[in-house]
Subunit: 527 residues, 2 copies
């Protein structure tokens, strides 16, 4: 099928969508009708998760218009082109193959005689072998002692995703006896970041994972030197304490400075790399290769659903299109991500990068300016903490902020307490349910200061528990949502030219090649 | 002087402000003019900090209009009314006295024969005495061993501020030999939060600080029980391991369940309580009372500046009014807080509560709806991490997001490495300088995908180092900024009725008193 890449404002079904009557959320969510919507507007996801969108400003008419939009913008066909290896990253002229780290969705992609799926699987296998050798004591420090700690050195996509996933599974792994090594992360070029981490670990029993696709990331190389100094000062050989995750063409790839090097390639963007060697090394070392394999299986289960042409059976595409409706028709600028799980404490920070770096663009995939708004600002904190922080604005502020809740029936650590006839876990779940309804329905009060207008849209993803499989499915859902939204906006979600200018200017500042404001600000900061 | 509380859209100087020509930021920041602006648009803050607003969309005309607006809205007079004890929290009919925890800015406020300043100082003194007894071993566990860890149990204002301040000073205290006890925090009702913290500490040597003004916060009482169970299971007497921070009228105040109780009152909102006993107990235990006293001094130095009627010499008021201009005239919806310091990793999360809970309101202080936008969405992460995450959208997205940078000339831990002729600290500073100029000036490129339009406004607060005094000044700056903005919008920044409905509905869910959507969602979550 011929694929057409057109701007959103040239799409006929987008014009139709704008004409569909808006849903009065507070009204439709009251009484029996509200209950019906909760039952009806449910889309099954992978690994037993469900995406419930009863409290979004949609009804059958809006959904029908969104289905037309999905069809006209050929979202599933574009996804097909992507996983079959077409060069959809038009800016950098690259394929986009992160799905292939967890499965083969379509055609084999062979380049220079290498099957890409086989390549990614091979890296997983090599990582698994290394991890097992580290765990069973075949690979040790110079004194023959086991490594107890793994420290990831990376920034951005080499940090946020792996860190969020580690935190999400750390306590689960402890309870399920698959916890192998504690993981720490060094990212910021602020020297206090590396210093603080080094102060909390025993370097003699630490294995460092240096992650940089290009092998040239300033922060990462600087922090590597920091760590090498610490190792040398402790009388240790850095080469026996470091592994690299990089591309095969990077300067790190075949260096004697590392125990081993594992590879990704240009077809996996940093923010999509949690399921590649970037996440694979640290997670396999921390929790064992089996846990990482389950995480990949979870992601794969979600990817398969994203192939479905039926919008109502394709939760990532549905979530994406509802987001487009909110952004481009209803005019909402932000999205808050609110997981009711302490394990997901840094999941919003990862989604913030995933979404804002992918879709914070003003030109289409051909480099032409677009005349409509693209990616929203994403922010969030776990519930119930957020309730006691910024929810005031979400409930009663002058702007409407669409909400993305995530909730789980069970906690991870199997320890709870009954207070006032309910467990903490029940209180946690009761709170997310209460919030959804409070935001949607509001509550009239004669005292306007205590009045809740309602009509504030949200959706919720519900699962049994945060574990490797559900986490993989959850991650893939958002990766695919972001991808589908990029398709609708006709932008390239896979490059990030917006980060370049700052790098260029920082180099000029460090070289003292400055004038004007750049020089004055440099003086203010004593550079 | 008679104070008039009027809505912003009735203010004559607001109408004038809207007519002032907009500044073309990219244009004015180029060349010698840009350099001049950096020198000129600097406002000294407390403790050697400076607020530089050269890269905001202002010029002398805009500033003159803002000064008129400040005068007409009587911002300094309103602040005076506040610190002199008037009931400016109109919703809850309360005074607002958090400034008094760090100084006496005006009249004595005496209530029921108690001088409020003396009351707050007395609590500080009692906390200092307790902390010293804990540190010198006069107060120990039952086995006569010193406490090594302090664990704060609180949520929202009893968590975010103290936690952010602790993290900001933890490494500074270690380097400066004032580190006394490690602090941990339990906040979420998710039972995994408490379980995870309990797994990392030695309860026998831990002192718990239970913080709840009302003594009825669900999350906090639940987590208290959690902790008490853990203490009992370890054969320990909880009453020997817990102190309370609460109001004198709360059920916790005179309970035998605590070693001691320290008091705040209704005149200090949770999000403004970092300088009260809420922050005082944990910070004095962690770092010693002297460090907490320095923190208060830093805040006090900033409060004094907020009394200045000259807008250009009142950095908090200036920051506030520029924010109003951006929100209500230029139409920007969000603000990103971007501290270039790993120590400030959770400072944006604290500001998120401070700002969004204070000013996320749709009614004025008399309970009447307002016809203009109020508090923005606040989000942020430390730089340089954010550069590799969401800055893409900030540089090239379709919405303009005003930016609040914070940068320091020196790091805290006095350990650094030279790579490519510069230290990490220099790289950190070079990056923030580069970003400010990149956002303001942009850079043309024939390839539109690599084009930077610029014109994206930011300000920066610059200091020597994150230490107790500068941290106090920084905190007070933002507290006062939020207060001034609330005055301009004519809203009550000191209540939070928007959090109530969720609490009511959560209780109904737990009591199974549900119908409609509430019942259906409860079923989905297995409650």
């Amino acid at each position: 099928m011929m694929i057409n890449w057109n701007n959103l404002d040239t799409i006929a079904s987008y014009e139709e969508l704008k004409k569909v009557a808006h849903v009065d959320l507070a009204k439709v969510m009251t009484g029996a009708n509200g209950a019906e919507r909760v039952k009806k507007y449910n889309a099954p996801m992978g690994e037993g998760l469900v995406f419930n969108y009863a409290t979004k400003q949609v009804d059958d008419d809006v959904l029908a218009a969104l289905a037309k939009l999905a069809e006209e913008t050929q979202l599933v066909e574009k996804f097909e082109a992507l996983y079959n290896g077409e060069v959809v990253n038009t800016g950098e002229k690259r394929r986009v193959l992160h799905h292939m780290t967890r499965g083969q969705l379509g055609d084999a992609v062979v380049e220079d005689g290498v099957d890409k799926r086989a390549f990614y699987v091979e890296q997983q296998k090599r990582i698994a072998e290394l991890a097992e050798k580290v765990h069973n004591g075949e690979i040790t420090n110079a004194a023959g002692e086991k490594f107890t700690t793994v420290v990831q050195i990376g920034i951005g996509g080499s940090d946020l995703g792996p860190r969020a996933m580690y935190l999400a599974l750390e306590n689960w792994a402890k309870v399920n006896n698959t916890f192998k090594m504690e993981a720490k992360f060094i990212s910021n070029v602020d020297p206090d970041d590396a210093s603080a981490v080094l102060n909390t670990i025993d370097v003699a029993h630490s294995l460092f994972v240096l992650v940089s696709k290009s092998g040239t990331t300033l922060e990462t190389l600087t922090n590597e030197s920091f760590v090498k100094d610490a190792l040398k000062n402790a009388g240790l050989d850095p080469a026996k304490h470091m592994i690299a995750v990089t591309s095969e063409t990077s300067p790190l790839a075949k260096s004697d400075d590392y125990l081993a090097a594992f590879f990704m390639d240009d077809y996996i963007g940093g923010r999509f790399s949690s399921t590649s060697a970037v996440g694979g090394a640290v997670l396999s070392l921390a929790f064992g290769p089996d846990v990482f394999a389950q995480f990949l299986d979870g992601a794969a289960s979600e990817d398969v659903l994203a192939k479905n042409k039926d919008l109502l059976k394709n939760p990532a595409m549905l979530d994406a299109l509802i987001g487009i409706y909110e952004r481009n028709v209803l005019g909402y600028q932000n999205t808050a991500v609110l997981p009711y799980s302490q394990a997901l404490s840094r999941f919003p920070a990862h989604l913030q990068q995933l979404d804002m770096e992918s879709n914070g663009k003003s030109v289409n995939r051909f480099g032409e300016p677009v005349n409509y708004q693209t990616g929203p600002v994403i922010f969030g904190e776990p519930g119930t903490n957020g309730q006691h922080s910024f929810y005031q604005l979400l409930h009663q502020g002058t702007d409407i902020v669409p909400l993305q809740f995530v909730g789980f029936k069970n906690n991870q650590m199997e320890r709870d307490v009954v207070i006032q006839d309910s467990t903490s876990q029940q209180k946690l779940c009761a709170n997310v349910v209460a919030q959804i309804v409070a935001f949607a329905c509001g509550k009239e009060d004669a005292d306007r200061n205590k009045n809740f207008e309602g009509g504030r849209p949200s959706s919720i993803i519900i699962g049994d528990q945060v574990n490797p499989k559900t986490l993989g499915a959850l991650l893939a859902h958002f990766e695919n949502k972001v991808m589908f939204q990029g398709f609708v906006w006709n932008i390239n979600s896979f490059d990030q030219e917006g980060v370049q200018l700052g790098k260029v200017l920082a180099k000029r500042v460090l070289a003292h090649e400055t004038d004007g404001a750049l020089k004055e600000f440099s003086d203010l900061l004593n550079i």
